[in-house]
Protein backbone atom coordinates (compact mmCIF):
# COMPACT_ATOMS: atom_id res chain seq x y z
CA UNK A 1 0.00 0.00 0.00
CA UNK A 2 2.86 2.34 0.83
CA UNK A 3 4.53 1.57 -2.49
CA UNK A 4 1.28 2.27 -4.30
CA UNK A 5 0.96 5.62 -2.54
CA UNK A 6 4.57 6.45 -3.40
CA UNK A 7 3.98 5.65 -7.06
CA UNK A 8 0.82 7.77 -7.03
CA UNK A 9 2.72 10.70 -5.52
CA UNK A 10 5.53 10.34 -8.05
CA UNK A 11 3.07 10.20 -10.93
CA UNK A 12 1.15 13.26 -9.74
CA UNK A 13 4.40 15.14 -9.22
CA UNK A 14 5.64 14.25 -12.68
CA UNK A 15 2.32 15.32 -14.18
CA UNK A 16 2.44 18.66 -12.35
CA UNK A 17 6.05 19.25 -13.42
CA UNK A 18 5.07 18.43 -16.99
CA UNK A 19 2.27 20.99 -16.70
CA UNK A 20 4.66 23.76 -15.65
CA UNK A 21 6.34 23.54 -19.06
CA UNK A 22 3.42 25.45 -20.53
CA UNK A 23 3.67 28.29 -18.02
CA UNK A 24 5.10 31.61 -19.19
CA UNK A 25 8.64 32.34 -18.01
CA UNK A 26 9.25 34.31 -14.79
CA UNK A 27 8.64 38.01 -15.29
CA UNK A 28 7.62 37.53 -18.92
CA UNK A 29 6.03 40.86 -19.96
CA UNK A 30 4.01 39.12 -22.66
CA UNK A 31 2.35 36.70 -20.24
CA UNK A 32 -1.47 37.00 -20.20
CA UNK A 33 -1.52 37.98 -16.53
CA UNK A 34 1.04 40.74 -17.09
CA UNK A 35 -0.85 42.11 -20.06
CA UNK A 36 -4.34 42.56 -18.64
CA UNK A 37 -4.63 41.94 -14.90
CA UNK A 38 -1.50 43.50 -13.41
CA UNK A 39 -1.70 46.81 -15.34
CA UNK A 40 -5.37 47.16 -14.35
CA UNK A 41 -4.61 46.64 -10.67
CA UNK A 42 -1.66 49.03 -10.74
CA UNK A 43 -3.40 51.77 -12.72
CA UNK A 44 -6.90 51.59 -11.26
CA UNK A 45 -6.36 50.01 -7.84
CA UNK A 46 -6.22 53.24 -5.84
CA UNK A 47 -8.97 54.83 -7.89
CA UNK A 48 -11.33 51.87 -7.45
CA UNK A 49 -10.69 51.01 -3.81
CA UNK A 50 -9.09 54.09 -2.17
CA UNK A 51 -6.43 51.86 -0.65
CA UNK A 52 -2.90 53.15 -1.26
CA UNK A 53 -1.33 49.74 -0.57
CA UNK A 54 -1.95 47.71 -3.72
CA UNK A 55 -1.10 44.45 -1.97
CA UNK A 56 -3.90 44.99 0.54
CA UNK A 57 -6.32 46.02 -2.18
CA UNK A 58 -5.61 42.90 -4.23
CA UNK A 59 -5.68 40.60 -1.19
CA UNK A 60 -8.78 41.99 0.43
CA UNK A 61 -10.88 43.07 -2.51
CA UNK A 62 -9.90 41.72 -5.92
CA UNK A 63 -8.82 38.38 -4.46
CA UNK A 64 -11.33 38.24 -1.61
CA UNK A 65 -12.20 34.59 -2.17
CA UNK A 66 -8.57 33.57 -1.87
CA UNK A 67 -8.10 35.40 1.41
CA UNK A 68 -11.39 34.06 2.73
CA UNK A 69 -10.36 30.47 2.18
CA UNK A 70 -6.87 31.17 3.54
CA UNK A 71 -8.60 32.20 6.74
CA UNK A 72 -10.78 29.11 6.65
CA UNK A 73 -7.69 26.92 6.14
CA UNK A 74 -6.08 28.38 9.25
CA UNK A 75 -9.33 27.92 11.14
CA UNK A 76 -9.55 24.29 10.00
CA UNK A 77 -5.94 23.70 11.09
CA UNK A 78 -6.78 24.91 14.58
CA UNK A 79 -9.99 22.88 14.75
CA UNK A 80 -8.19 19.74 13.60
CA UNK A 81 -5.47 20.12 16.23
CA UNK A 82 -8.14 20.60 18.90
CA UNK A 83 -10.02 17.57 17.62
CA UNK A 84 -6.92 15.40 17.41
CA UNK A 85 -5.44 16.25 20.81
CA UNK A 86 -8.29 17.01 23.15
CA UNK A 87 -10.16 13.70 23.09
CA UNK A 88 -7.69 12.18 25.53
CA UNK A 89 -9.23 13.49 28.70
CA UNK A 90 -12.64 11.96 28.01
CA UNK A 91 -11.22 8.46 27.58
CA UNK A 92 -9.34 8.35 30.86
Amino acid sequence: MKKLAFVAVLLTGALLLYGTKDFPAWGDPMAPAAQHLSPTYIEKGVEQTHVPNIVTAVLGDYRGYDTMFETVVIYCAGIVVIGALRGWREDE
Binding site: E47, Q48, T49, H50, V51, P52, N53, V55, T56, A57, L59, G60, D61, G64, Y65, T67, M68, E70, T71, V72, I74, Y75, A77, G78, V81, I82, A84, L85, R86, G87, W88, R89
Partner: protein
Protein backbone atom coordinates in the same frame (compact mmCIF):
# COMPACT_ATOMS: atom_id res chain seq x y z
CA UNK B 1 -5.29 41.66 43.88
CA UNK B 2 -2.76 40.34 46.40
CA UNK B 3 -4.07 36.84 45.87
CA UNK B 4 -3.51 37.34 42.19
CA UNK B 5 0.06 38.46 42.71
CA UNK B 6 0.76 35.60 45.09
CA UNK B 7 -0.42 33.14 42.54
CA UNK B 8 1.61 34.83 39.86
CA UNK B 9 4.71 34.39 41.97
CA UNK B 10 4.17 30.89 43.27
CA UNK B 11 2.98 29.42 40.02
CA UNK B 12 5.64 31.07 37.93
CA UNK B 13 7.94 28.77 36.02
CA UNK B 14 11.69 28.84 35.91
CA UNK B 15 12.02 31.96 33.80
CA UNK B 16 12.95 34.21 36.71
CA UNK B 17 11.81 37.65 37.87
CA UNK B 18 13.65 39.62 35.19
CA UNK B 19 12.01 37.81 32.31
CA UNK B 20 8.61 37.98 34.01
CA UNK B 21 8.85 41.71 34.63
CA UNK B 22 10.04 42.30 31.07
CA UNK B 23 7.14 40.29 29.69
CA UNK B 24 4.65 42.16 31.84
CA UNK B 25 5.90 45.45 30.44
CA UNK B 26 6.20 44.25 26.85
CA UNK B 27 2.85 42.46 26.45
CA UNK B 28 0.64 45.56 26.10
CA UNK B 29 3.04 47.10 23.62
CA UNK B 30 3.12 43.93 21.54
CA UNK B 31 -0.67 43.89 21.48
CA UNK B 32 -0.80 47.56 20.55
CA UNK B 33 1.65 46.90 17.73
CA UNK B 34 -0.49 44.02 16.52
CA UNK B 35 -3.56 46.25 16.41
CA UNK B 36 -1.52 48.89 14.58
CA UNK B 37 -0.38 46.36 11.98
CA UNK B 38 -3.98 45.26 11.39
CA UNK B 39 -5.39 48.78 11.22
CA UNK B 40 -2.54 50.21 9.16
CA UNK B 41 -2.59 47.50 6.52
CA UNK B 42 -4.13 49.98 4.09
CA UNK B 43 -1.06 52.19 4.09
CA UNK B 44 1.92 50.03 4.92
CA UNK B 45 2.93 46.38 4.84
CA UNK B 46 0.68 44.48 7.18
CA UNK B 47 -2.87 43.28 7.50
CA UNK B 48 -4.92 40.67 9.24
CA UNK B 49 -2.56 37.73 9.02
CA UNK B 50 0.54 39.55 10.20
CA UNK B 51 -1.23 41.53 12.91
CA UNK B 52 -3.08 38.45 14.10
CA UNK B 53 0.15 36.54 14.51
CA UNK B 54 1.65 39.42 16.50
CA UNK B 55 -1.43 39.54 18.76
CA UNK B 56 -1.27 35.78 19.23
CA UNK B 57 2.43 35.92 20.02
CA UNK B 58 1.67 38.17 23.01
CA UNK B 59 -0.36 35.35 24.59
CA UNK B 60 2.26 32.79 23.62
CA UNK B 61 4.87 34.95 25.33
CA UNK B 62 2.71 35.06 28.47
CA UNK B 63 2.41 31.29 28.34
CA UNK B 64 6.16 30.84 28.02
CA UNK B 65 7.26 33.38 30.63
CA UNK B 66 4.67 32.46 33.28
CA UNK B 67 2.73 29.30 32.62
CA UNK B 68 -0.26 28.22 30.68
CA UNK B 69 -2.74 28.55 33.52
CA UNK B 70 -1.96 32.22 33.99
CA UNK B 71 -2.04 32.90 30.27
CA UNK B 72 -5.40 31.17 30.03
CA UNK B 73 -6.81 33.23 32.85
CA UNK B 74 -6.46 36.33 30.66
CA UNK B 75 -7.74 34.59 27.55
CA UNK B 76 -9.93 31.62 28.34
CA UNK B 77 -10.38 28.71 26.03
CA UNK B 78 -14.06 29.52 25.58
CA UNK B 79 -13.37 33.10 24.50
CA UNK B 80 -10.58 31.83 22.31
CA UNK B 81 -12.85 29.44 20.45
CA UNK B 82 -15.54 32.07 20.13
CA UNK B 83 -13.11 34.59 18.66
CA UNK B 84 -11.70 32.05 16.22
CA UNK B 85 -15.14 31.21 14.91
CA UNK B 86 -16.25 34.82 15.11
CA UNK B 87 -13.39 36.03 12.95
CA UNK B 88 -14.16 33.58 10.19
CA UNK B 89 -17.84 34.47 10.58
CA UNK B 90 -17.11 38.19 10.19
CA UNK B 91 -15.35 37.51 6.91
CA UNK B 92 -17.98 35.20 5.45
CA UNK B 93 -20.78 37.27 6.96
CA UNK B 94 -19.53 40.42 5.26
CA UNK B 95 -19.62 38.59 1.96
CA UNK B 96 -23.11 37.25 2.59
CA UNK B 97 -24.42 40.67 3.65
CA UNK B 98 -23.00 42.13 0.44
CA UNK B 99 -24.78 39.44 -1.54
CA UNK B 100 -28.05 39.99 0.33
CA UNK B 101 -27.90 43.72 -0.33
CA UNK B 102 -27.88 43.12 -4.05
CA UNK B 103 -24.17 43.10 -4.88
CA UNK B 104 -21.93 40.17 -5.61
CA UNK B 105 -20.48 38.00 -2.85
CA UNK B 106 -17.68 40.03 -1.18
CA UNK B 107 -18.44 43.09 -3.32
CA UNK B 108 -18.14 45.60 -0.49
CA UNK B 109 -19.52 48.52 -2.47
CA UNK B 110 -23.01 47.04 -1.91
CA UNK B 111 -22.69 47.97 1.79
CA UNK B 112 -23.25 51.55 0.69
CA UNK B 113 -26.98 50.83 0.93
CA UNK B 114 -26.71 50.55 4.73
CA UNK B 115 -24.63 53.64 5.38
CA UNK B 116 -24.03 56.14 2.61
CA UNK B 117 -20.30 56.70 2.53
CA UNK B 118 -19.89 56.16 -1.18
CA UNK B 119 -19.28 52.82 -2.87
CA UNK B 120 -15.55 53.31 -3.30
CA UNK B 121 -15.09 54.35 0.32
CA UNK B 122 -16.99 51.22 1.32
CA UNK B 123 -14.61 49.04 -0.64
CA UNK B 124 -11.85 50.43 1.54
CA UNK B 125 -13.92 49.96 4.70
CA UNK B 126 -14.92 46.45 3.65
CA UNK B 127 -11.29 45.46 3.34
CA UNK B 128 -10.73 46.74 6.88
CA UNK B 129 -13.70 44.79 8.30
CA UNK B 130 -12.48 41.67 6.60
CA UNK B 131 -8.94 42.20 7.89
CA UNK B 132 -10.25 42.46 11.44
CA UNK B 133 -11.98 39.12 10.98
CA UNK B 134 -8.80 37.55 9.64
CA UNK B 135 -6.83 39.02 12.54
CA UNK B 136 -9.20 37.60 15.15
CA UNK B 137 -9.13 34.12 13.65
CA UNK B 138 -5.36 34.05 13.22
CA UNK B 139 -4.76 35.35 16.76
CA UNK B 140 -7.02 32.75 18.39
CA UNK B 141 -5.82 29.87 16.27
CA UNK B 142 -2.14 30.67 16.86
CA UNK B 143 -2.74 30.84 20.60
CA UNK B 144 -4.84 27.70 20.57
CA UNK B 145 -2.25 25.79 18.55
CA UNK B 146 0.42 26.74 21.07
CA UNK B 147 -1.73 25.75 24.02
CA UNK B 148 -2.71 22.41 22.55
CA UNK B 149 0.68 21.42 21.18
CA UNK B 150 2.53 22.71 24.24
CA UNK B 151 0.43 20.75 26.70
CA UNK B 152 -0.48 17.70 24.62
CA UNK B 153 -4.14 18.70 24.53
CA UNK B 154 -4.63 18.69 28.30
CA UNK B 155 -4.35 22.46 28.73
CA UNK B 156 -3.00 22.01 32.24
CA UNK B 157 0.63 22.87 32.21
CA UNK B 158 2.32 24.23 29.16
CA UNK B 159 5.95 24.21 28.16
Amino acid sequence: MTDDQDQLQTKAGTSGPIVEMAVRIMTPFIQLFGLYVIAHGHYSPGGGFQGGVILGSAYILLGIAFNQQIAMRYFSERVNNMLASGGALIYVGTGVVCALLGGLFLDYSALDRILHLGPIEWRSMGIFIVEVGVGLTVMSIMTSLFWDLGSGGELEKGL
